[in-house]
Symmetry: C2
């Protein structure tokens, strides 16, 4: 009994079945995604492995490293946010769409503190691409609102988008729901063209 | 020659003269203050000691620990900012004073990235007290501007001050001068009472 178990264990460790590999990948991804929603969670390979019920080595093998795993987890969270931004960018009241989108984005950021912090300095190509799509959607909303005479046109679009992004992220991270509301009220009034 | 030198060295290490202690304290403080203005500087005792030309033990002894040293260095930087805020809070155009003060504060924050980051989680009673005075001065400006009908009164003062502080700090840290200007333009317009 002892020897067959050992042999089987060794065999599985060196060449896990395709089904096991897929399952381990999903377990690691789910664990990382769950940790991204925990305030101040340390997203180490060990913490992810513990949450997934896997060994640290298995987690690393499943993704080829922590960077790729975090990139996949954050990208999985961002994909529906990007889809929502694209829908809203097609709204016929772009200033209203902008407020709706920023409110949802900030609520998402407030619930996923760990996402931004843990990706800082890491190579995360999928997340970077999705962030670029988010920025593009916000610029579409801003341009549409400017064309409709509802957002000021005296500040360069890139500066405006960057400043909104920096400020919104900071308020979302440190603030409660009433901070997010107050920020959006002041911001959207401040974005109106001066009369 | 060798023995007297050694004896003198030993004597100085165990009981430094009063003048040496004052000098070492100032050297450590100047080094920490200079490092606070360097982007991404690591404010370790070792880095401060190296910059001061002192031993790490001497730096620790001069202040009783890194926390007290950083508190003293950041407080030294904040003191003139607080004095300026108090002067501006007495201005007869509080909305104009608010813009001037926030602009100067953000320029200060942009030049001292390391100050906020390195104090996070440390006990820094002097800095905390000065920050409280800054917040009080900003609230005086906001209240005065509200009374003069120049700032909206439909958001609680504490919420407004917190949101402005969070957003301004984030923009100052990540932005260039044109980001600071754009932020202040949008913010101050957004703070006007709705007509």
């Amino acid at each position: 009994m002892l020897i067959p178990d050992y042999v089987e264990g060794t065999f599985q460790m060196s060449t896990p079945s395709r089904a096991d590999a897929v399952r381990n990948r999903q377990l690691a991804l789910d664990a990382a995604t769950a940790l991204l929603a925990e305030p101040d969670a340390a997203l180490t390979v060990e913490a992810i492995a513990k949450k997934a019920g896997l060994g640290a080595g298995t987690v690393v093998r499943a993704f080829g490293g922590k960077e790729a795993l975090l990139d996949a987890a954050v990208a999985g969270l961002l994909r529906p946010v990007v889809a929502r931004a694209r829908d809203l960018a097609a709204d016929d009241r772009p200033d209203r769409a902008l407020r709706t989108f920023l409110g949802e984005l900030m609520t998402f950021q407030a619930a996923h503190h760990a996402a931004g912090d843990n990706l800082r300095g890491l190579a995360a190509p999928e997340t970077t691409a999705l962030r670029g799509e988010l920025v593009a959607a916000v610029e579409t909303m801003l341009t549409g609102a400017q064309r409709a005479g509802r957002v000021r046109a005296d500040i360069p679009l890139g500066t405006l988008t960057a400043v909104i992004g920096e400020a919104a992220y900071a308020v979302a991270r440190s603030g409660a729901a009433d901070h997010i509301d107050a920020f959006l009220t002041v911001l959207l009034d401040g974005l109106k063209p001066s009369t």
